[in-house]
């Protein structure tokens, strides 16, 4: 063997790897600061844990998770094992005349490597089999373009190349072991390499001494070729995705990034690729095209021109074309000339690279962020791009009117701000004014609960139950403004800040300890976003507070509602955003109803389609509205007669969906408060 030439080649492969890696690193360096370097040790170990357990891959897809675990650990163990063999063979033996691969250690070492090698190959074949079944999440069909407008065959080639390279490496590795054992005359201790031993028995008659060097070279070249290939392919996820998990923001999407005063001055949003943060640029590269976001997205499911996967991949293509020094991958997606040209020559990211209707299709339900196994924060990017559209005034008239209403009157209904507490008229008791007398709980009522005539009924019931339990609570009357959760997610950051300032000023004038709200949207922003503006109150959703009062014995039910068979819809902003899935279920158990969850529930709930300002936009172009799909999902449950909600917007959306889908006779929509009232 010509060791010198081999060494030279090897160095060549490494250079290709290092160059590819450096190009990626240089690309991320072009991004803006992302403030992700706090608690580095904690971040390091948390990501290490996620990687070692593969739990983010396992979540909701145990088959893919198990296969990935086998491939991952097979790869890691073989990599370390091979490194130990190289150390032993190339350094310890020739230089020190020593070997650690002897005796009992060698036996266990051999067995361990063989087992993980076998797992590696089994995992790969499981993945191959899975791809053969063509699951929907691996379908590259785009909802926003016609098939002739884009070409994803590059990605398909990359998917195949990655899988087959690993299979070839694994199989030739075992072949090599078998040939070596056969060439050495099948020594007895090699039964500790069971796979290799069996292969040795089979290969004994094929001239193992002659074959061995050829297979060795082949295996070595494929391995080195693979290393060189890593930074130019989806194999890069082995490195980028650990970093992406490590630098992920735990509050991603729940707390959107503030806009600096300078940026407010020059115009909010992103205009050029350098405006993205380095974490966002890394997000684009982190995507393995697993498609979990693609199938979880309610916009995509209802025929809107948005797939979170395609959004991220398009931005990757764009970043590579602008600051990535060409493509960073060998196999890229390509677009037809029409798509590439954009509108009017000057390409804008929000508008041409990602179409405005794509950005407006997002319901900000966070299903994509939650489903992503590698820590991509799609939603932050979407809102940052929406900000650009808002700055340019590119939006539907109805949305524009709503924003103007919220700006003028502090509510989305365009009604007088002085009418905000009108729902209290006709109550048999007076709701305390938190601005005038001290209370324990400030009830932040929210727009829909205050102004929507149907939801007002629920609001009055909540007030009645608070009163009955003797809760010390009050409201802000006309000083309350829209909390701004959806305004911020629309991308109207200036208006959001104005609303926060107004609400914070009202808080400052009032005397209370904690906040309670029936609206999960207000709940999210009050809990996760207001603290950045100086709020330090504990915030409760009414289901959580009612549960607490149930435990304390202040909330008592006098009867069990056994005659209802109910299902419960987790609001995105409660279950997924804030992890509160138990309180409403606990209430339902205490109410004694017969309860069954839908297929998708808890953090995996399916959005009603109202979030992120969608409730103020036109949904007539959708093939099937998410709310109708959800009602149909509920009706899969045998004998269900009540659809329970815990969100004012859900009440509006689902009452409408039940009517428009003609299911009024089969299913009724109820706020959980109605059941509580009935059982008290």
């Amino acid at each position: 063997m010509d060791g010198g030439r081999f060494l030279y080649r090897r160095v060549g492969y490494e250079r290709v790897f290092i160059y590819g890696f450096w190009r990626r690193y240089r690309k991320y360096r072009r991004g803006k600061d992302a403030d992700r370097f706090n608690n580095l040790v904690g971040r390091f170990f948390k990501a290490l844990g996620a990687m070692a357990t593969n739990k983010t891959v396992y979540k909701r897809d145990s088959y893919a998770g198990a296969a990935h675990w086998m491939i991952f650990w097979g790869f890691v163990v073989l990599f370390i094992g091979t490194a130990i063999v190289a150390l032993d063979f190339d350094i310890l033996k020739p230089v020190f005349d020593q070997s650690i691969l002897v005796g009992t250690f060698y036996k266990w070492f051999s067995l361990f490597l063989d087992v993980f090698g076998a797992l590696f190959i089994v995992g790969l074949f499981m993945m191959l089999f899975r791809r053969g079944k063509k699951p929907p999440q691996l379908d590259y069909k785009r909802p926003d373009l016609k098939p002739e407008q884009y070409d994803r065959s590059g990605y398909q080639k990359d998917d195949k190349a990655f899988l087959w390279l690993l299979i070839v490496i694994g199989v030739t590795g075992f072949l090599l072991e078998g040939l070596r054992i056969a060439a050495e005359g099948m020594p007895a201790f090699e039964v500790w390499s069971p796979v290799g031993y069996v292969l040795g028995l089979m290969l004994g008659g094929f001239g193992p001494e002659t074959l061995h060097p050829y297979v060795w070279w082949f295996h070595a070249i494929v391995v080195l070729g693979f290393i060189a290939y890593i930074p130019y392919s989806k194999a890069m996820h082995m490195l980028v995705d650990y970093a992406n998990l490590m630098f992920k923001d735990d509050l991603a999407a729940k707390r959107l990034p503030k806009v600096s005063p300078e940026k407010m001055k020059e115009g909010i949003g992103y205009r050029k690729i350098d405006d993205f943060t380095w974490k966002e640029l890394m997000d684009f590269d982190a995507c393995t095209k697993c498609g979990r976001c693609h199938v979880a997205c309610p916009a995509n499911a209802s025929g809107a021109p948005l797939s979170p996967r395609d959004l991220i991949l398009d931005l990757r293509t764009y970043a590579d074309a602008t600051i990535g020094n060409g493509t960073s991958e060998i196999f890229q997606q390509t677009f037809s000339e029409g798509v590439k040209a954009g509108k009017g020559g000057k390409i804008s990211i929000a508008g041409d690279i990602i179409r405005a209707d794509t950005l407006w299709a997002c319901t900000t339900c966070m299903a994509c962020v939650e489903a992503c196994p590698v820590g991509i924060e799609h939603l932050t990017t979407i809102v940052n791009l929406r900000r650009t559209l808002v700055d340019a005034g590119t939006m539907e008239n109805s949305l524009q009117d709503t924003l103007a209403n919220i700006g003028d009157y502090g509510n989305s209904f365009g009604q007088s701000d002085r009418a905000r507490a009108k729902w209290t008229q006709g109550l048999e008791f007076k709701v305390k004014d938190a601005r005038k007398e001290p209370v324990k709980y400030l009830w932040f009522v929210g727009d829909y609960a205050s102004y929507d005539p149907a939801v007002q009924q629920m609001t009055r019931k909540v007030a009645g139950i608070f009163e009955k339990m003797g809760l010390d609570y009050g409201i802000l009357y006309e000083s309350e403004k829209n909390a701004g959760n959806d305004v911020r997610r629309i991308g109207e950051e200036g208006l959001f800040e104005m609303l926060v300032e107004d609400n914070m000023a009202a808080f400052a004038k009032s005397d209370f300890k904690e906040i309670v709200t029936t609206d999960p949207h207000s709940f999210n922003t009050l809990k996760n976003e207001y603290p950045e503006f100086g709020s330090s109150y504990a915030v409760h959703h009414y289901t959580g507070l009612l549960c607490k009062l149930l435990d304390e014995g202040k909330l008592k039910f006098s009867k069990k509602l056994r005659h209802y068979k109910v299902t419960y819809h987790d609001p995105c902003y409660l279950g997924r955003y804030n992890g509160e899935t138990e309180a409403p279920r606990k209430l339902l158990r205490a109410l004694g109803v017969e309860f069954q969850d839908m297929r998708r529930c808890g953090a995996n709930s399916f959005c009603c389609g109202a979030g992120g300002g969608r409730i103020w936009m036109d949904d007539s172009k959708l093939e099937k509205r998410p709310s109708v799909q959800r009602i149909e999902e509920a009706l899969e449950i045998d004998g269900v007669n009540l659809f329970i909600v815990a969100c004012p917007k859900d009440y509006t959306m689902y009452t409408d969906a039940v009517k428009s889908s003609g299911n009024e006779k089969r299913l009724a929509v109820r706020d959980i408060i109605e059941l509580v009232e009935e059982a008290m």
Partner: protein
């Protein structure tokens, strides 16, 4: 192309309206004000013309409730200059307002004056024609489309019964805008706030005195519900005769 857009604030109809003690005006103490919808359209049309043909847009307003806010919003939308005409314009009629505005506009270079064709609280819908009168320019009102080419302007005007006329006119002139080609744009709060800090709100003293108001309010009251309807029948002439008799009897 230099365009001047007179705008004004009107009571926001979202609040319940009350008649004050005099019985001749609204109780304005609790009223909220917003830019007249038609003026918003005039501004939008002006901005669209500027985007097409270059030039400048100047928003001008007589002093009044919350007028600074309206002018800053106009600046945020893209008006190059914003001018407040100071003076006592409380309850000014369209005649007085037009005179005061014309006095200021006269001293400025302009090709077009675009203003809302009417407002929710004007009595005669004559602001555009009065402005043209005091400026001595041609005028077209109820305009729904403006195109400019080679010093000429092509104007679409709506008539009743779905009839639309197309006029060609020469500049300078005054147009009363019914609707802009596009929905008035949304301006993000961050830009309005920026304008409040940075925009130069020019102040010019103005006076519109010495003209007749054209009309005056004798009584202001909420619509009274009638006791029923009487259907008139017969030929057109007979109906007209009966109508005239009824009106005479009520006067």
């Amino acid at each position: 192309m230099n365009i001047i857009v007179p705008i004004k604030q009107v009571p926001d109809l979202v609040e319940e309206l009350q008649v004050d003690a005099s019985g001749k005006d609204l109780d304005r103490e609790w009223l909220k004000y917003k830019v007249s919808e038609f003026d918003d359209h005039a501004l939008e049309e002006a901005l669209l013309l500027k985007e097409q043909h270059g030039g400048s847009v100047t928003a001008i307003a007589l002093d009044g409730e919350d007028i600074d806010k309206a002018l800053f919003a106009a600046s945020a939308k893209g008006a190059d200059r914003v001018i407040k005409v100071t003076g006592d314009f409380k309850g000014a009629s369209n005649h007085t307002a037009a005179k005061a505005l014309a006095n200021v506009i006269k001293g400025m270079p302009y090709d077009l004056v675009l203003t809302g064709v009417q407002s929710v609280e004007d009595r005669d819908g004559q602001i555009a024609v009065l402005l043209a009168h005091y400026l001595g320019t041609p005028h077209i009102s109820v305009v729904t489309g403006v195109e400019v080419a080679g010093g000429k302007v092509t104007v679409h005007k709506e008539y009743g019964g779905g009839v639309v006329a197309e006029f060609e006119a020469s500049l300078p002139m005054v147009l009363g805008i019914q609707a802009a080609r596009e929905t008035p744009r949304y301006v993000p709060v961050s830009r309005v706030r920026q304008a409040m800090r940075d925009a130069n709100l020019e102040e010019v003293a103005g006076d519109g005195s010495g003209v007749s108001a054209g009309s005056s309010i004798s009584r202001m009251f909420k619509p009274e519900t009638g006791g029923g309807a009487e259907m008139l029948s017969g030929s057109a002439q007979e109906i007209a005769g009966k109508l005239a008799a009824i009106i005479k009897s009520k006067m």
